[in-house]
């Protein structure tokens, strides 16, 4: 069945360098640096990435960072909590805009 998303496409990510190699190199170098052990551990960074992946709803990233989290030693309970963090921020971001709605209502209502 044809689909816009194909799991095997993730392995082709590097091919993005074909038309713009310099930009791709800078991006992938930067990407590698971001996920290296630093003030945050690789495990913590993978959990953040997993949460963000759910927030931006990227199936490639969800696949990749689910495995990465497991291989960095996180368990499913921790990963589920990370997804809830993404959900809370994403849901909260919608809800807090309700203040704008209320402001506008006040402005135009008698």
């Amino acid at each position: 069945m044809e689909s816009y998303y194909n799991p095997s496409d993730l392995a082709k990510f590097g091919e993005i360098a074909e038309e713009a190699p310099e930009m791709a190199k800078k991006f992938f170098d930067y990407y590698g640096t971001v996920f290296a052990e630093g003030e945050l551990s690789e495990r913590e960074k993978a959990l953040i990435a997993l949460a963000v992946a759910h927030s931006v709803q990227c199936p490639y990233c969800i696949d990749a960072y689910t495995t990465a989290c497991l291989e960095k030693g996180s368990n499913q309970a921790e990963m589920t909590e990370a997804v809830h963090v993404a959900c809370a921020i994403r849901g909260g971001a919608s809800l807090v805009h309700g203040v704008q709605m209320m402001n506008r209502c006040k402005k135009v209502s008698m």
């Binding site: 551990s41 690789e42 495990r43 495995t67 497991l70 291989e71 960095k72 030693g73 368990n75 499913q76 309970a77």
Partner: protein, 309 residues
């Protein structure tokens, strides 16, 4: 996927035996558990256990060689009737003895004499403890196993195992709970140490992390779950040529419950005999250097990433 032998050839590597300093003794496939990651398909229904006659042949083989370490594994070695005899014989002939335990039997009353023997002989214990998370561990090893393991570790600590200055070493062994690679060993050890100490007051000597081998019951699960091809591809893609020099098979020889020789316990599971011939240890005088190690695609499990030796 390129075969393991082709990959070695591509990197100009030769997998040959160095000085053999470890004898791994697989005392049989009988086990009270049937862990999903088991490469041997060990379990309660298996009847294969090492007899006293084979133990005598093992001890004679040990006398003809100069092993520094005897590594006793199974199945569950606790379930081997003459295990005390084997332990006694080995303790007299090798510098160190390592006893692998699944932690669910060793501290039970009926094994008190065996445990006493291990303590008295300062036999090191390597215990399976795949995850600090109960759900993950039980998913792999069976319901209730995690809790019995924690209880057993506390008891081993009480006897001095894993405590500095006692000479009683307690190693934990962690395998991933699925078709993914293990956590990098030193980081996993740090986390295990702090978490086990903080939550349950448990101490241990070192942690070893190993990849699950695509053999036995684990392979059957990989096939059933559609994970075999991607898992093999992941192991092969992670091939690290730097690991080959330090692979355990270069310095270890494995003997099965019935006395046949293999280059490692994984080759034993795969039925790949040492030197490519069905050799009983009674037919072999000493294990020499330079003998090619028999390899197959499951060997990618020991060469992925930082390697698992």
């Amino acid at each position: 996927m390129r075969s393991f032998q082709d990959t070695l050839h591509h990197h100009g590597l030769h997998l040959v035996r160095e000085v053999t300093s470890t004898l791994q003794i697989n005392t049989g496939f009988r086990c009270n558990l049937a862990c999903k990651h088991c490469h041997l398909d060990a379990g309660p229904a298996r009847q294969e256990v090492m007899t006293r006659a084979t133990m005598e042949e093992v001890l004679s083989f040990v006398r003809r060689n100069s092993f520094k370490l005897a590594d006793i594994t199974g199945g569950a070695p606790e379930l081997v009737p003459d295990i005390a005899y084997l332990l006694d014989g080995l303790s007299l002939q090798v510098e160190r003895v390592l006893f692998r335990s699944n932690l669910t039997l060793l501290t039970r009353g009926e094994y008190a004499a065996l445990l006493e023997q291990l303590v008295a002989g300062k036999v090191a214990i390597a215990a399976s403890f795949p995850s600090t998370n109960k759900k993950q561990a039980d998913a792999q090893r069976g319901s209730g196993v995690w809790e019995s393991s924690v209880k057993a570790l506390k008891e081993l600590n009480r006897l001095g195992y894993g405590k500095a200055g006692t000479g009683l070493e307690l190693f934990l062994v962690a395998n991933p709970a699925g078709a993914f690679l293990p956590v990098e060993q030193s980081r996993a050890e740090q986390r295990y140490k702090s978490e086990l100490a903080a939550k349950w007051g448990i101490a241990f000597t070192n942690l070893y992390t190993f990849a699950n081998m695509p053999l036995g019951r684990f392979r059957a699960w990989l096939e059933r779950s559609g994970n075999l091809q991607p898992y093999m591809a992941k192991l092969a893609a992670g091939f690290n040529p730097a690991t080959v020099a330090g692979l355990m098979c270069r310095s270890l020889i494995s003997v099965s419950w019935d006395g046949f020789l293999y280059d490692c316990d994984f080759n034993l599971a795969a039925g790949l005999y040492h030197s490519g011939r069905r050799l009983h240890l009674s037919e072999v005088d000493t294990i020499g250097k330079g003998i090619p190690i028999i390899s197959a695609d499951h060997c990618y499990g020991c060469t992925a990433g930082a390697g698992f030796t």
